[in-house]
């Protein structure tokens, strides 16, 4: 099935979304780690709520919709669009999208204030 190569970077998280996938980005390793962490939270929630198979299907659709046409799936604008797309799925997935949007906004503001390291602080949720 057609699936843009840059989207595959998100699937699965961790291993295939390596820093090399995003080497052409103008964002730092720390910024990339923050975005990856935010997306990982979202995908784990989606999987917990819907089950693996259905969550994977939704996630793939969301990525296709959110990331096609962008330079990289690792960019904050793309992650924002992932959040927006999730918010359009009724029920708990919309809540996952709302959470992800808060993560992205936090990332943006902390990053612009050169305080991104604080994003990784805090208690385990």
């Amino acid at each position: 099935m057609p699936f843009p190569e840059y989207n595959v970077a998100f699937e699965p998280f961790g291993e295939s979304m390596s820093l090399a996938d995003c080497s052409s980005n103008d964002i730092s390793t720390q910024e990339l780690e923050a975005l990856t962490l935010a997306c990982r939270h979202a995908r784990e929630s989606l999987t917990a709520f819907l089950g693996q198979e259905e969550a994977d299907t939704y996630w793939r659709r969301v990525l296709e919709r959110a990331c096609v046409g962008t330079q990289s799936a690792c960019h904050p604008e793309c992650v924002q669009r992932i959040a927006d797309a999730l918010r359009e799925i009724p029920g708990p997935p919309a809540i996952v999208g709302a959470s992800l949007a808060i993560h992205v906004r936090s990332y943006r503001l902390l990053s612009s204030a050169n305080k991104l390291e604080t994003y990784f602080e805090g208690e385990a949720s």
């Binding site: 929630s45 029920g91 708990p92 996952v96 959470s99 808060i102 503001l109 994003y119 602080e121 385990a124």
Partner: protein, 176 residues
Amino acid sequence: MTSSPAFADPVRDLHRLQEIYDLDLTSEETDEGLQAILEAATTALDIPVGLISVVLDSAQYFPAMHGLSGWIADVRGTPNQWSICIRVVRSGEPLVVPETHEHPQLCFNPIILHDEVRAYAGVPLRTSRGHTLGSLCVLDVEPREFSDEDIRTLEHWADRAAARLEERRGRKRVGA
């Protein structure tokens, strides 16, 4: 209380999150009534900061806030790793911390470390369906004792806030 057996953590309870969705609690529309309830609570306790926090699966959202500034106010929320109110959702009980720096876990929370929150009191926002959606909480930049009367006052306003939020039930369907 309704709960999903598959989710031992109340924060991830599907029924709770479904109710948050049904009540449209992540809407970014300003709710003047909810804001007025929060203002009344902070005025009653004469405390500088108050929040109505809805705890989502991995972040908290503030549909009403008073006295907050900085990036958290701009975001209108935080990741759950930063949330103190998440503890209220998990316990379903009020949380009172007169001196955050002496709390064994909270003293490492970035909110405490970076934003000078020294005292916290939060009570559950509980709906008629038994779900704790979040917390009505107040914060101070100085250590502070909270009396039983203070907590009863917060619970009164939290009940009013929850009732206000429940007025939104069905709004999603009506607007669909």
